[in-house]
């Protein structure tokens, strides 16, 4: 490695890239190269068609050797894309890679301007800024941090389940934390799934069971992540485990306690069935729940409310001794290297579109409720009977409820056209009812989806192109609760008022209301809608802006099961890539405190978005944990005594850069 000798004269090589015509069509690269060649310390100045190509890189390396260069500046595209390429190239020729500086004249210049002369002048200024800062650069070293091999997965829907199995099957230790009493997520509520119409639980339950029994998976249901500290490779996580009042290791899942509960009949709102059925205070959420362990609801259990129950459940449990009314919330601390967030979505609350009468007219249902109504393990054992005890003869399915709407949610929820078709088919199959689907645009992207649409259309369901405007009781109907669905058939330019027995609202998918809290917990970003933001929409779709934290499934945006599973696999692969490499390299552009100047005022500590700063209690000086520092510079700018310095952004470097930028250019 090149070690600069003191007072050795600075010798800079400058290279400007044409990027085909991307840059050259807007910037006169030859002029820029000529100009930079006249600047102090510049020994060679060249332009080349593709600097990132092998010949381009070799040119730099050859110059370093032949012209004894000790600094390199490349003016080309964004450093996001090729900074590493050129750093490696310079390093290979024997110079510390941080003696290289990149200038972005594509995204910051050629692509955003229309005046060639001005764009050329800007390129000159930007290049000169780099030429002025680079002599001040110091050699820096990339640090290596070990990656802990365990993985945390948050959310046990199909995405979380799949990621957990991929990792566990390859021998990695996985902690799966699920908020509900069972894993399975939304998919566990469905009857069948599009486009294949295979039974949802038939494909899901084996995977759920595998998670439950896998030696490499620690499954914590009814639990939430309470705290996350640390950094990629070394996350310290605290998980809060809520009491179920039934001990997981002792319960055999026999459900004799449920049978024995003093409430002879189920009486309380059954959450799993969205309130369409009833449950007892002690219950298993649904037959194939994983873990197959009952739980007691403290809000409705007599013993937990008043301590005055006969506790027939306890009696029934007998020697197994699984019921424990004294169980307390527990906090567990774990160490993991990587985290996958797979917290899914919630359905849109149709009360927010009051003109569809959800919550007002009993025969208006949301789609998830209908999934339960047609599900054999649902509240009606799979028979589609409505709240009034009748089987509908005519059903309207309304698309885009709470999607594609400035007044509610602006995005297309992507799965509801397809699940609407699915439900139309299933309802027809069960009841022989006539179905009318009201859609705006029929969106069926994805493999096999258009074919599915095609096949179901043949069944003769009525498809009306028009957004339903109003749902109201049929004034000619006295008792049955028949409703009129009013919409314009836009292909016929006619207003339809269709009487139906049942209305199904195809509600959209939206982020959980606590997504902002979760985002902060894991230091992620959210899009303005509240979906977790991927690092790059195309090239890093499951990464977040926090290293070592990945996304899978609908928490990143609406998608179907195949895409959720594919993302889960991708997120697992990202974890592998870190775990198997064993360490990560850290950019040395971190900040450090010059201790003798720090007054210990602590003003920097709360400002750091990565909680990297702490106070050394003994010295009363601020200390920056290099492994946590992301080099954002916030503390540097805020320190009242100017005692924080950031590598690569030292004051002298920044000021010379600014001077270089602002001085007049010759053309």
């Amino acid at each position: 490695m090149y070690i600069p000798k003191k007072h050795e004269p600075v010798r800079i090589g400058f290279y400007i890239c044409h990027c085909g015509v991307n840059i050259a069509s807007m910037v006169d690269v030859k002029e820029v190269a000529k100009y930079v060649g006249t600047l102090p310390n510049v020994v060679v100045s060249r332009d080349y068609k593709y600097m990132c190509s092998d010949p381009g890189q070799e040119m730099i390396q050859q110059d370093i050797i032949e012209n004894r260069l000790n600094r390199v500046v490349v003016a080309a595209c964004s450093p996001m894309l090729h900074e590493q390429t050129f750093r490696k190239a310079t390093e290979k020729a024997g110079i510390n890679p941080f003696f290289f500086q990149m200038v972005n004249i594509r995204e910051h210049d050629a692509w955003v301007h229309t005046d060639r002369l001005e764009a050329t002048r800007k390129a000159m200024a930007l290049a000169r800024a780099a030429i002025q800062r680079v002599p001040l650069h110091k050699p820096l070293e990339v640090k290596k941090v070990a990656v802990h091999p365990n993985v945390l997965i948050v959310g046990g829907g199909i995405a979380g389940i799949h990621a957990a199995l991929v990792l566990a099957n390859a021998g990695k230790r996985v902690y799966l934390v699920e908020r509900d009493p069972t894993i399975g997520g939304h998919m566990a509520k469905f009857d069948k799934t599009f486009p294949t119409l295979d039974c949802a639980m038939c494909v899901l339950s084996p995977k759920m069971a595998a998670v439950g029994s896998h030696p490499n998976i620690t499954l914590w249901t009814y639990s939430e992540v309470a705290k996350v500290d640390g950094y990629v490779g070394n996350y310290k996580v605290v998980v809060r485990r809520k009491p179920r009042y039934v001990l997981e290791d002792l319960c055999t899942g026999c459900q004799e306690c449920v049978e024995a509960c003093v409430y002879k009949e189920p009486k309380f709102r059954d959450e799993f069935n969205l309130g369409l059925g009833k449950r007892k205070p002690i219950r298993l959420p649904f037959p194939q729940a994983i873990p197959p362990v009952t739980l007691i609801d403290p809000e409705t259990c007599i013993e937990l409310k008043s301590g005055k129950c006969k506790k027939t459940c306890l009696e029934a449990c007998g020697d197994r001794k699984a019921i424990d009314f004294k169980q307390q919330e527990e906090l567990r601390e774990i160490l993991v290297g990587t985290i996958i967030v797979a917290t899914g979505y919630q359905i849109f609350d149709a009360k927010r579109t009051p003109y569809y009468g959800y919550g007002v007219y009993p025969n208006v249902y949301n789609a998830l409720e209908v999934e339960r109504l047609i599900n054999a393990s649902g509240p009606t054992n799979g028979e589609l009977v409505m709240r009034n005890g009748q089987v509908p003869k005519k059903v309207a399915v309304i698309h885009c409820v709470g999607s594609r709407d400035e007044n509610t949610n602006r995005w297309c929820s992507r799965v509801c056209c397809l699940y609407s078709l699915k439900l139309a088919h299933l309802i027809h199959e069960r009841t022989n009812a006539e179905i009318v689907n009201f859609y705006i645009d029929m969106r069926t992207p994805g493999k096999g989806m258009e074919e599915f649409y095609n096949r179901l259309s043949e069944e003769g369901m009525m498809l009306v192109r028009g957004k339903v405007a109003d749902v109201y009781p049929d004034p000619t109907d006295g008792t049955t609760g028949r409703l009129i669905v009013q919409a314009e058939d836009t292909l016929m330019s006619r207003i339809l008022k269709i009487p139906v027995d049942m209305v199904v609202l195809s509600v959209g998918l939206e982020p959980h209301p606590d997504s902002d809290k979760i985002r902060r917990l894991f230091n992620m970003s959210c899009s303005s809608e509240g979906w977790f933001l991927e690092r790059h929409p195309k090239l890093a779709p499951v990464s977040t802006f926090t290293d070592g934290i990945f996304l899978a499934g609908c928490c990143q945006g609406p998608k179907d099961i195949p895409d959720s599973v594919a993302q889960a696999g991708a997120a697992a692969a990202e974890c592998f890539s870190l775990i198997d490499k064993g360490h990560i390299e850290q950019e040395p552009n971190t900040a450090f405190v010059v201790e003798k100047e720090c007054s210990g005022c602590k003003s920097c500590i709360p400002l750091c978005p990565y909680t990297a700063i702490s106070l050394l209690e003994d010295k009363k000086k601020a200390y920056i944990n290099e492994a946590l520092c992301k080099g954002c510079g916030t503390c540097v700018a805020s320190c009242p005594s100017g005692s924080i310095v950031q590598n690569l952004f030292e004051d002298a470097e920044v000021f010379s850069e600014i001077e270089g930028l602002l001085a007049p250019v010759p053309v």
Binding site: N407, G466, K467, V468, A487, E488, I495
Partner: protein, 401 residues
């Protein structure tokens, strides 16, 4: 939530040629042809060109055909399409008035009733063609004493803009007297313009007689400048709408309130004074300009519920989904035209819903509605008596004496 639309201003002077270049016009380009507007429009089934088709004709360059049809005369400016449009296109604020103006220009003849009203408003400053010197009469008759700006010669807190129906028509005057009574009970420092006031012009602009509207705006703005006051309060939902949405583009920047909004704000002081029990079952009809356009859904209901004895029941269509009384956008003067076209009067449709609730009273908050509903009740059979009252009338009644 169904969004309460921002009281965004309207672009001054946008025409059919320029509208697509304005920020609001650009929204029009985003229309997804979903048909929500046509489906929700109370007269959608009678329009050859509901908003959806208008937009597509405009985007494809066939808008002239729309102007030749009299379809747009059926629009009662009820804001239903605009409130539910999934693209947030400000139909009733921006596009429809322009189309309506062009439609009127392109008709071989304008329905006589409307024609007369527009002429009256221009000539006399009120749609009924009453003498402008009689505007103040209600405020001086039968011992009522209402302060008048020109007479009291001092600044006031509230300038009460009375408006036409509430000044000239018997049932409107009842409403005005009730407002005066409530102002006095609350100790509000107020005065009216008396004979100096002219129609605010809301319906003029929604039928998009822009020339007429500007004449009225200029006139009223000049009068406002003569006096000192802190805010304008009006009991007329349409004047309220005009001051909120349209007048600002002519430089108007006074705070404005509708009486229901003001009284709802004053409920802590008002409630103890509401001592007389009114044993009514009441259903409230949301006025378009207050509900959908200004989000005042709860205020009138809160006022009604503050009256001892009142039980509130809702009609099938309420709040954002309310159905217009049919009086907006010039509909007040198009009943004959609508009848010729075989269209049901919306006031009748609305009254049927009210009757179905079993209520004793239809409570309203816009002066058009009193007439329209009382009229409709004459033709729609109902077993049980049902009356129409403005919310403020009920409040005044509950004040006792």
């Amino acid at each position: 939530m169904v969004a309460m639309l921002e009281p965004e201003l309207c672009e001054k002077g946008a025409t059919i040629e320029t509208v697509l270049d304005t920020p609001e016009g650009k929204r029009i380009l985003t229309c997804i042809q979903c048909g929500m507007c046509a489906g929700t429009c109370p007269y959608g089934e009678y329009m050859d060109y509901p908003p959806r088709r208008i937009i597509n004709m405009l985007r494809r360059g066939f808008i002239e055909e729309v102007f030749k049809s009299d379809s747009m005369l059926r629009c009662v400016a009820c804001y239903a399409c605009m409130s539910k449009c999934p693209r947030g296109i400000r139909l009733s604020d921006v596009l429809l008035p322009i189309v309506k103006e062009q439609t009127l220009i392109n008709q071989p003849e304008i329905p006589a009733e409307l024609q007369k009203t527009l002429q009256n408003t221009l000539r006399y400053g009120n749609p009924m063609g009453e003498s402008s010197r009689k505007r103040v009469n209600w405020a001086t008759a039968n011992g009522t004493k209402v302060p008048i700006m020109a007479e009291i010669k001092r600044p006031v807190d509230v300038l009460w803009f009375v408006e036409c129906y509430t000044a000239y028509y018997q049932r409107g005057q009842d409403n005005s007297r009730a407002v005066a009574k409530l102002f006095n009970a609350l100790g509000i420092d107020f005065a009216i313009l008396g004979n100096e006031e002219k129609c605010a012009g809301d319906c003029g602009q929604l039928t998009w007689e822009s020339g007429l509207f500007e004449t009225l705006t200029d006139y009223n703005m000049e009068i406002f400048k003569k006096y000192k006051f802190n805010r304008i309060v009006t009991g007329d939902a349409h004047a309220f709408n005009a001051f909120r949405i349209r007048y600002p583009m002519y430089g108007f920047n006074y705070p404005v309130e509708h009486t229901t909004g003001l009284f709802a704000r004053c409920l802590p002081q008002l409630k103890p004074k509401l001592t007389k029990k009114l044993n009514y079952t009441v259903t409230y009809h949301d006025a378009c300009c207050l509900g959908r356009r200004a989000g005042l859904y709860d205020e009138p209901r809160d006022l009604l519920l503050a009256i001892p004895g009142i039980k509130l029941v809702e009609m099938t269509h309420n709040r954002v989904n309310s159905i217009c009384c049919g009086g907006g956008g010039g509909g007040m003067w198009l009943d004959t035209f609508f009848k010729q076209k075989g269209m049901e009067r919306l006031s009748e449709r609305r009254v049927k819903e009210a009757i179905a609730t079993g209520a004793d009273v239809i409570a309203v908050s816009c002066p058009y509605e009193i007439y329209r509903f009382e009229d409709a009740l004459k033709v729609i059979p109902h077993d049980k008596p049902i009356i129409v009252r403005d919310v403020v009338e009920l409040l005044a009644e509950a004040l006792g004496d």
